[in-house]
């Protein structure tokens, strides 16, 4: 039994998106306060889209998040199309998927390479890492550049896409550009492997901590593949899937007295979303190279060490590159066609879900017959992870309470970082509900 007295107050955890605090007060081994707090300023997005045209929704809600703007834009565009009865072609669907993959690579490289790696090598940021390991840092920068240029090719620019319109794409790449991208993706696989090797060399610094957890992610039962953009809602706690339009029966958002942000729960007191959740639900559908990388780290289906989310991100980075090489081949074999966008929106209400890099994301909208937005409801991955972060901390702290205070603090910060939180996103949506 520990008799430690520990006081930790991390006011704004660094190297995460948005503002979050960690508070731990323990006296004589008794934990008096342990909280993951979120003080971010809400921005009222769901209120702001009211009255706006179905055409303008994506422009607005993309601004929820700079890092996962493609996921927000895709979720919004899909939900708008579902709600207003707008169909898109198979080509549009495939190009959007290819765009979505680019964001997974960009976000995962950013998170593992720039935000998590400093912890593994005992540095305060990537800046001193540049001097300590210029080679690997330059490899990471090169991969980040590739992912961004890939996004720009399909989305019109890196952040906040400008090619997505309800009903189609305003611009598509040429076959030559796609072929060049495919070559670059092939060439980047050794670089990804090199980054995986570097992380593996320090993987021993990932805390050994496990807590049985419910994981929730998209699963595509119709055309089985490792789902990011299609499919329905699946959980490691139950068989079958839940329709995307019924996402509120999954998220069950509720207000916690100790947090300004909403929490979510399904079969247990909390659940987790993100790369590890997707891995735990879809691992057998990974590309062979991605499977080999998972094996290298000893990552197996059923893993419930949250710190391994970063490892799952490396595995996914390899997978999206592999899969995109095939997807480009498919697009080129079909041949690209210029497709006009001609839509006539109907009144309606519907949802859509995509996997943002940090987990499953739900958007729901209702439109009147003129195509003006009447209401919106958005559920963000990090909102769904907040409760799980708290529950992890509650199990973790008693296990490590005898360790030096700095180490406890580092492990708690690393835990928050492992979830790759997007706090701005989650809080900008907090508590937001329309009363009709």
């Amino acid at each position: 039994m520990s008799n430690r007295t520990v006081n930790i107050n991390v006011h704004h955890v660094t190297r995460i998106e948005g503002h979050g605090n960690i508070v731990l007060n323990a006296t004589n081994g008794k934990i008096e306060k342990l909280q993951w707090q979120v003080p971010e300023a809400p921005r009222f997005f769901e209120a702001m889209v009211r009255g706006r045209s179905y055409e303008d929704i994506q422009i607005i809600v993309s601004r929820i998040c700079g890092i996962c703007s493609i996921s927000h834009s895709l979720a919004a565009t899909k939900a708008v199309e579902n709600a207003t009865g707008i169909q898109v072609s198979e080509q549009t669907d495939k190009i959007r998927l290819l765009m979505h993959y680019s964001e997974q690579l960009q976000s995962h490289v950013l998170h593992v390479g720039y935000l998590v790696a400093p912890d593994l090598f005992g540095m305060p940021s990537v800046v001193p890492l540049v001097a300590a390991a210029p080679g690997p840092v330059k490899t990471i920068i090169g991969l980040h550049r590739l992912a961004n240029e890939w996004s720009a090719l399909l989305a019109g620019r890196i952040t906040h896409p400008v090619t997505l319109r309800p009903g189609g794409m305003t611009k598509i790449p040429t076959e030559t550009q796609l072929r060049e991208l495919q070559d670059r993706l092939r060439q980047c696989l050794p670089d990804l492997k090199a980054v995986a090797d570097v992380v593996l060399s320090a993987a021993g610094n990932l805390p050994k901590f496990e807590r049985p957890t419910e994981y929730v992610a998209l699963k595509d039962t119709r055309t089985p593949h490792y789902a990011f953009y299609h499919g329905e809602i699946a959980s490691t706690d139950c068989a079958g899937t839940v329709a995307v339009n019924d996402w509120k029966t999954v998220a069950n958002e509720f207000v916690s007295d100790q947090s300004t942000s909403k929490w979510a729960k399904w079969h247990r007191a909390s659940y987790a979303v993100g790369a590890l959740a997707r891995f735990n639900i879809n691992a057998e559908l990974l590309s062979p190279t991605a499977k080999a990388v998972a094996k290298m780290f000893g990552l197996q289906k059923g893993c419930c060490n949250p710190y391994f989310n970063s490892v799952a991100q490396i595995v996914e980075a390899v997978h999206v590159v592999d899969t995109s090489i095939e997807l480009i081949e498919e697009l080129l074999t079909r041949g690209l066609k210029q497709e006009a966008i001609a839509v006539s929106p109907k009144a309606g209400k519907a949802s859509a879900a995509v996997e943002a890099p940090r987990g499953i994301l739900f958007h729901e909208y209702e439109f009147d017959r003129k195509g003006n937005c009447m209401s919106a409801d958005l559920c963000i991955p990090t909102t769904q992870n907040h409760a799980n972060i708290q529950k992890d901390m509650e199990k973790l702290v008693p296990e490590i309470l005898d360790e030096p205070q700095d180490k406890i603090r580092l492990k708690l910060e690393m835990l928050v970082r492992a979830y790759d939180p997007c706090v701005s996103c989650s809080t900008h949506m907090l508590d937001v509900k329309f009363v009709r």
Binding site: H12, T14, R15, I16, E17, G18, H19, P39, A41, P42, R43, F44, E46, A47, M48, R52, S53, D56, I59, I60, R63, I64, C65, G66, I67, S69, L110, Y114, L115, P118, P124, S125, V126, V127, V130, K138, I141, G142, H144, R145, N148, G156, R157, I158, T159, H160, V162, T163, R165, T170, K171, V255, T260, S424, C425, D431, V432, K433, F434, V435
Partner: protein
């Protein structure tokens, strides 16, 4: 000469403009060679209270944030507003279109509307709270424009950003005019400097860089008339990034 110290702070925003600094890729190494980034919460654990240049992303929506911003202004020799949220208020100002904030909060938060942590004030651009020395417009910022401005400052020169509309850059690129494709494009009245990246992708300009100082209102009216649209069509699109801004062509 000692390297100038740069600190990066954010308020209500998506942090996408900070991400554009990360997106400088290899070039960020050059920046780190000529300046010391001493605080940047999103990317670094290092912190410092001493800095020469403060980069501010995001708009100001709470009283406590106004106070925090004033403290930063007091310490920084040069303050730069980074991106639409900081420069004009950006999409966050859509909130200001609702006259009754209590009604908005109730509509959004239901029964919880009275809780203290849900307080919100009129969204302000950084320049409505403290003096801004330089602005990097756009949502997100343009990386090349950002490096140009920082480079100019480090060399002791005054950066100049375009005083002409997006149409100039769009025409120079040889893009077909999107008005001819029934898109209500704000190119005629919005500040250039983005390389007309949206119309170049077939997407109308929605005004993220804010109005030019002297927008040619008559030209915008001519365009509306020529394409058989009314002023309301234009107003609807101007609201996205141009809510409650001056100058406007509302009158």
């Amino acid at each position: 000469m000692a390297k100038p110290k740069i600190a990066i702070f954010d308020f209500a925003c998506c942090e996408g403009c900070q991400l554009q600094i990360v997106n400088l890729e290899e070039e960020i190494l050059s920046l780190l060679g000529v300046a010391d980034v001493v605080e940047w919460r999103e990317a670094m654990s290092e912190k410092s209270d001493e800095y020469d240049i403060a980069l501010i992303e995001g708009s100001i929506t709470r009283m406590e944030d106004e106070e925090k911003l004033k403290v930063i202004r007091g310490k920084a020799k040069v303050l730069i507003a980074l991106g639409a949220c900081a420069v004009t208020g950006g999409v966050n100002k859509l909130k200001n279109n609702f006259d009754d904030f209590e009604e908005v909060k109730k509509c959004v938060y239901g029964k919880a509307a009275g809780k203290p942590h849900l307080r919100t004030a009129v969204t302000k651009a950084v320049g409505e709270v403290v003096q801004v020395d330089y602005a990097v417009p756009g949502c997100p910022i343009d990386r090349n424009e950002f490096t140009y401005i920082v480079r100019s400052l480090l060399m002791g020169k005054k950066p100049e950003i375009p005083e002409y509309p997006v149409c100039v850059e769009c025409k120079a690129k040889g893009n077909p005019c999107l008005w001819q494709y029934d898109q209500v494009c704000l190119g005629p009245i919005i500040r250039a400097g983005c390389g007309a990246c949206c119309p170049s992708s077939g997407f109308r300009c929605f005004g993220c860089r804010g109005y030019i100082d002297n927008p040619n209102v008559e030209a915008a009216r001519d365009v509306i008339n020529r394409f058989g649209l009314n002023l309301d069509d234009l107003k609807t699109k101007m609201v996205l990034f141009g809510s409650k801004q001056e100058p406007t062509i509302y009158e």
